[in-house]
Amino acid sequence: MNGIRDHFGLHDDALALRSKRNNILASNIANAATPHFKARDIDFEAALAKAMPSGPITTTSSNHITGGGNALDSSLEYRASINPSLDGNTVELSVEQMEFSENVVRYQTSLTFLNRKISGLMSAIKGE
């Protein structure tokens, strides 16, 4: 089973992370008119680097950490606003919409990669 999972590489982690980021950006857009709301985001590169496996590690105890943490545990950060508004809200719709549309495209990219890998696996299994 590990072989199939390794075949997907980082794309499954990337997809889960993109989906999490979509929810965060949607929360920012939902709170565009709420006073004192601070826009949040995650550092995608850093979070994905967390999920990167650091080679096979032999463990001698069940308490040992095998490396390759969970990308979804990445910490949230506050967005530095370019044009802060008077009511203390740091959501800028232009910024959020750009980030959101980029994130959606990158989600679709990861999804396409996964689909290709799955169909590659299927044709290898069928052997046609």
């Binding site: 929360s27 939902a30 565009a32 999804l111 689909n115 799955i118």
Partner: protein, 138 residues
């Protein structure tokens, strides 16, 4: 109330908050040119108070939506106007006009409808992404 779990909770509640805001704008505009016999009876503009509602594990998931926590009356004061022909005018010929700033309400209406559209756009985009994800591997 059930917890906030997914995009439909986030954007759905934000849309209903913006709709409440649009309703208050409509009420204010409808009463913009009404007159009353006394200062107490005069209409004063109403405003919704928006408040962020965080999901149970917001510190990890970053999920938050918005709720209307209260509807308050604006601090604008009703205007005393001289209209002797008005049936509600007092013995000096004055009536009290409603405290509504029409220009402010129009701007409010534009902003609320734009933000409603934004949330709707987010939902429809993510919904089509979900449909594509469900069909993954076919």
């Amino acid at each position: 109330m059930a917890g906030i779990q997914n995009i439909f909770d986030i954007s759905g509640r934000a849309m209903s908050a913006q709709l409440t805001r649009l309703n208050t704008v409509a009420s204010n505009l409808a009463n913009a040119k009404s007159f009353a016999g006394s200062k107490q009876e005069a209409f004063v503009a109403i405003k919704p108070v928006f408040e962020t509602e965080y999901a149970a594990h917001a510190e990890r998931s970053g999920i938050a939506t918005v709720n209307v926590s209260d509807i308050v009356t604006s601090d604008l004061q009703p205007q005393r106007v001289h209209l002797p022909s008005h049936p509600k005018a007092d013995e000096e010929g004055y009536v009290w006009g409603s405290a509504v700033n029409v220009e402010e309400e129009m701007v409010e209406m534009l902003e609320a409808s734009r933000q409603y559209q934004n949330n709707l756009e987010v939902v429809s985009t993510l919904r089509s992404l979900m449909m594509r994800t469900v069909n993954m591997g076919r």
